[in-house]
């Protein structure tokens, strides 16, 4: 999938979990691309999402708002969501704003997949 800068939004599936890679700066342009990719994966039947922030240096306000939108969509679809490899500054930001109440934070992609695989076997109770 193309970003406005011409780069691809990388993603792949591990079972029913989709891993979507955020870009170096999560703002309006890149955020909307990631949101679309997450929606597409959920529509294709994914039951869990990992958003990997290993390349992400900065997340601005619009990025936060878009991530909240992805969390909303995931919750409505009954899907779990995890953020992996988030740098310490961004972790602080997510904790301060309360995003961490809605997502699992994982050290890396492998750990995120492991956490979500545990949830996958647990029935979702609303």
């Amino acid at each position: 999938m193309d970003t406005p800068s011409g780069k691809l939004v990388r993603s792949h599936c591990v079972g029913t979990t989709a891993v979507v890679y955020a870009s170096d700066y999560l703002n309006k342009l890149t955020g909307e691309k990631i949101e679309r990719e997450c929606r597409r994966q959920l529509n294709c039947g994914c039951r869990a999402l990992v958003i990997d922030f290993s390349d992400t240096k900065l997340v601005n306000s619009i990025g936060v708002s878009i991530l909240l939108g992805i969390i909303d969509v995931a919750e409505k679809s009954g899907a779990r969501i995890a953020f992996s490899d988030v740098n310490s500054q961004t972790v602080q930001l997510f904790e301060m704003l309360g995003l961490t109440r809605h997502v699992v934070l994982a050290k890396d992609e492998r750990e995120a997949l492991l956490n979500l695989s545990h949830f996958e076997t647990t029935p979702i109770v609303h």
Partner: protein, 422 residues
């Protein structure tokens, strides 16, 4: 980094982005949507909407996030509720506060609460409620703090001004478009009036009906071929229509004399360019130099014209064009005392008189325009329509025109080189 510092940096960053977004000239709806995202992202809110007052009560949703699209159908604000926001009576923003004096909140509480809206802020710009911003769903689950309220108020003010400015710009653009349309209409009315006037001038001369209109059209064709701007082309067309307006003050018997008139009558007739100038000069025309083109359309490059005996450089280019158009029409239409001349004869006359009576550049441009039409390179056959279908027929016509053009262009470039050597 301390939490408060981190929060401050995040909020400042959002305010800076908001300022940039509002100052941009992009799409209005996108600007509002992005501004709303910035506000939501600053405090990590999951729901928000920006609704605009449409003036007569109903609120129009401009941007929405995390809410149903149909939530705002039938949603309205009453004038008294707007006044309460303005007077400071309705300062309460919390939807859940049932003790609120805010009539708008009280009226819509159930609907707003059902959608998870917790806060309602009016956008007030220049003493007017321009819309509302509705927010809810703090991701942290915490209550809104005083700092949050301050941040929201600051950003709501920014967004309000942004929306107001964009709307003003839209209105300005709309007014400009209306003015342009009105101006075009006025110009069309002016053109039609001038054409009617030209017809009135020609009616005085029973042998030259349609002459002024044809001179206008020939002038337009020549000017366009010479690369004049559209406005200048329109102007010279008008000058062509009005070039003989001075004939209105010349005795009808002199104009309609079916023979060559004597010197005295001729001098009376020759007053018409100056008389035309006197008629046209006090009028504020939407195009430049129309009176001068009428005044000088009988001047010649060799100085033997009238009324002022001007020479080449002294004669405005517009007058040279009208002069050629006028003479060409005179040569190619029947008069009471002679038949119109053949095209070969006309070309011979143009060649002989280029540099004396006519400007070679103008004659060359006219010849090019005729040649294009003869060769079928133009969509319309306007010249043929004026001259009659058969007038430009004949295999020799393109050669005649081609030779004339190359001779004149050679002459013009020779003159140019000579002028440079001095």
């Amino acid at each position: 980094m301390e939490l408060s510092t981190q929060k401050l940096i995040h909020t400042f960053g959002a305010l800076a982005d908001l300022g940039q977004e509002i100052a941009g000239t992009g799409d209005f709806t996108e600007m509002v949507r992005t501004s709303m995202h910035l506000l939501l992202g600053t405090l990590a809110l999951r729901r928000g909407a920006v609704v605009e007052c449409t003036g007569d009560g109903p609120l129009k949703c401009v941007a929405v996030w995390g809410l149903g699209d149909q939530m705002f159908s039938g949603f309205e604000i009453e004038e008294a509720e707007k006044q309460a926001f303005l007077s400071g009576e309705a300062t309460e923003s919390l939807v859940q506060n049932t003790a609120s004096a805010n009539a708008f909140l009280n009226r819509h509480r159930d609907k707003l609460a059902a959608e998870g809206i917790e806060l309602v802020f009016p956008m007030i710009v220049r003493g007017e409620v321009t819309g509302l911003i509705l927010l809810g769903g703090k991701a942290s689950g915490e209550e809104f703090s005083n700092d949050d309220f301050e941040t929201i108020r600051a950003m709501v003010r920014h967004i309000g001004v942004g929306i107001h400015t964009h709307r003003l710009l839209e209105q300005v653009a709309q007014r400009a478009e209306e003015n342009r349309r009105l101006y075009d209409e006025l110009r069309a009315i002016y053109r039609d009036t001038v054409r009617a006037f030209a017809a009135a001038i020609d009616i005085k001369d029973k042998y030259t009906q349609g002459h002024s209109e044809r001179v206008g059209k020939y002038s337009e064709i020549i000017a366009r071929e010479m690369g004049w701007s559209e406005e200048e082309v329109e102007g010279i067309q008008i000058a062509g229509y009005l070039h003989d307006i001075g004939k209105l003050i010349v005795d009808r018997d002199i104009i309609n004399a079916p023979y060559n008139i004597d010197a005295k009558l001729s001098s009376e007739l020759n007053r018409h360019p100056s008389a035309g100038y006197e008629i046209l000069a006090p009028i504020n025309h939407p195009y430049a130099d129309i009176p001068l083109m009428a005044k000088y359309h009988h001047e010649r490059l060799d100085g033997r014209g009238y009324p002022d005996g001007l020479t080449d450089e002294q004669i405005p280019m517009g007058a040279k064009i009208v002069s050629l158009a006028d003479s060409f029409d005179a040569m190619t239409t029947d008069r009471p005392y002679r038949r119109r001349r053949s095209f070969e004869d006309v070309v011979r006359d143009l060649r002989e008189n280029s540099g004396k009576q006519f400007d070679g550049k103008v004659v060359a441009a006219f010849a090019r325009a005729i040649l294009k039409e003869v060769k079928g390179e133009t969509k319309e056959r306007r010249i043929t329509k004026m001259l009659g279908k058969t007038y430009l027929e004949g295999e020799h016509v393109p050669t005649l025109l081609g030779d004339l053009i190359s001779d004149l262009e050679e002459e013009v470039s020779r003159k140019g080189a000579k002028a440079q050597s001095f």
